[in-house]
Amino acid sequence: MADRKKIEIPEDVKKIESVGEEEDFPFDISPMYEGERIRKGEMYVELGGTEQPGFELVMALPAEEVEDMKVTIVGPDLEEMEEGKAYPYAMIYYVAGSQVETDLEPVIERRNHDFQNYLEGYMHLNQRYDIWIRLGKGTVKKGLKSLGQIAKATMMLFKNELPFIEKIEAVYITDAALVEKVLNEVAMPIYEERDARVEALHDEDVDEFYSCTLCQSFAPTNVCVVSPDRPSLCGAISWFDGRAAARVDPEGPNRAIPKGELVDEIGGEYTGVNEFAKEESGGEYERVKLHSFFEYPHTSCGCFEVIGFYMPEVDGIGWVHRGYPDPAPNGLPFSTMAGQTGGGKQIAGFLGVGISYFRSKKFIQADGGWYRVVWMPKELKERVAKYIPDEVRDKIATEEDAKTIDELREFLKKADHPVVKGVVRPVDGKKITEGWVEEEAEEEEVVEEAAEAPAAQPAVQPVQPMQAAPQMPFALPQLPQLQLPASQPSGGVRLVIKDAKIYIDKIIIKKPEEKKKGGK
């Protein structure tokens, strides 16, 4: 971890120090100033922005090192600045408190934007090393003399609004060389460390997930659950975005979901998520597993960037993204599959995801993760290639390798893809598929469909990955709860369908003599 310690200020740079709370500020402080844009003509000076370096940084330090409400201005202060010019600008805050930890630094740091925009005549934009500030002439006329006053007002807001901050100290730097030096040597390593943490943060490390119901106008039963290991289906919302939005508007479209008890570690099932799903789907769904493809999968809104589809013929999963216009090997283009799955349905065999879910360490881990993936368009595969384990990367086909199920089967066999001999899921080493059965059954390409079949024919379950072998008795996995009535063993019919693509919305099979009690 990058070191957290106070910035060393060289002896030869001018500095001004001031300790204690300010009585009066020559500017108004209110949330109504948020969004105030200071135009070039009204600007006294610009700090940071496109012309000068700038950054902001919050560091958590031990309480004894932080001198509360102290501000140090290093370099020229406002009165020495020339009107209309741009200057380098660094805002560094040291914070301390019994609950203040390194993890909270970025959360506190983001609030600098909010609080500084409460200040009349002060425009703060962007974050980290992109900050851009404009100070209005009006506020300087009203008596603003020093950046120290800005720092004091900001620190006051930090302490009022975030009471867990017990002590806060600010160092504002306008000296060009020092801004550059601290940016490169101190701030950048900390920002990089934070970004690395995003990859390292997992579902088990947090207490809350976040919901997103922005899509519910299109998909009323959709329940997007955003966790560290599972971004939203549209790809836009990470766990961090959910957290940021929930804090601003706790009753808004992104609300906190307390995780509750862990029910299924591998599938990613939590009591809190289940309760939430039930509530938000209007009772339609009672269980949701975040990292499962087949069992209680996440609902799919319609906004998803990529759709996953199960191909029983190869017992593998393909993925196709919105921008890929041609049919996938299952014969269906993205739009058709999206049409069937979208609208907030939970459908075993199809799953909408965001592209960033491919980066997740828990990517459909219950069903073998990458080891179960057999096909994706080249464009998509290249985009996520570095997240695919080396072992299977070349075994996943693209449209250049296979456009049909037959071609896909050939490719997978040649590549010795795990689905051929059976997938061992990496998460717990369990063998979850049997692999393909004997060649003969495959080459026959016989799909058996039984209408009034002998009782020996098992009732077909929606999708059971364990029994998903090439001769699975249904062509498309989205058939809902197809239950064949176990009828008398006489007069069975054997249907042999070859090279057919079947789309069935609903099958109703009734016994003619018992019309009212027929299964559906």
């Binding site: 969004g35 135009r39 962007n126 289906l233 790809g235 940021a244």
Partner: protein, 253 residues
């Protein structure tokens, strides 16, 4: 803050009127001009070279969002809007909404932009929005409402039919407007005048004024010169100026 939406069937001259309103109102008020018609050319009419459109920024957001890590996306968008989309002129700011979104889901981007624009807009005295008749940005909520809707029509039946549709749509969208006005443009004879007066009466529009056909505007258009070069003492300019003051007076009272 007063939000004035200028709309009407394409080709009726709403962009000319928008540009002149912006030109006159910005002399006394802090003003944001919004071009919300992908087919229009408000920046040309104003003689302003626009920067990036909101649509372009939204596209950049869509492709770069996966790599933003813990960066705050709303603040990212706000920075882009303030820093790269808003064009500052000497007397007003201009924001071009740009083309509608492409494929994929824009729910989140639009939801963030809605917040950014709401906070931005409240700091101006006047916002003039040149918008297409479908009021797309209003229906998507990227722009939340309008105080005054000015529907521009020429003497054509189609212009009037569009005006009626716009009124229905504005009510449906709950734009919470205080008034919906009608402006007749390029009115060349008494018959047209009478027709439009009658239409306004029956349709529940307040008729702001009837503007004449202006050869000078036609010439400016032909040369591709900004409409703001129109002689301020011309009948057309005087009338639009009167409309401008009337709206500001209305919003003060």
């Amino acid at each position: 803050m007063a939000v004035i939406a200028v709309t009407g069937k394409g080709g009726t001259g709403k962009t000319v009127i928008s540009a002149l309103l912006i030109h006159f109102l910005s002399r006394e008020k802090s003003l944001l001009a919004v071009d919300a018609d992908p087919d229009s050319n408000l920046p040309d009419a104003l003689g302003v070279k626009p920067r990036k459109t909101l649509g372009e920024i939204r596209e950049v957001f869509q492709v770069s969002r996966d790599d933003m890590g813990t960066m705050n996306k709303e603040q990212w968008l706000e920075g882009k809007v303030y820093g790269e989309a808003i064009t500052e002129t000497d007397s007003y700011d201009l924001l071009v909404m740009g083309r509608p979104e492409g494929e994929g889901c824009y729910c989140f981007a639009n939801s963030l932009l809605r917040g950014v624009l709401r906070r931005l807009m409240r700091h101006y005295d006047v916002i003039v929005i040149d918008t297409e008749a479908g009021l797309e940005h209003f229906s998507r909520g990227t722009i939340s409402g309008a105080d005054y809707i000015i529907v521009v029509t020429d003497m054509s039946k189609k212009g009037l039919a569009t005006a009626r549709r716009i009124k229905d749509l504005s009510q449906e969208l709950k734009l919470n407007f205080r008034k919906i006005f009608l402006v007749g443009n390029r009115i060349m004879d008494g018959m047209g005048e009478e027709e439009i007066r009658k239409f306004a009466d029956e349709g529940g529009f307040e008729l702001l004024d009837l503007l004449p056909y202006s050869e000078e505007i036609a010439r400016l258009d032909l040369r591709g010169d900004p409409i703001t070069k129109l002689d301020e003492n011309s009948e057309y300019a005087v009338k639009v100026k009167k409309i401008a003051y009337r709206l500001v007076g209305d919003s003060n009272g």
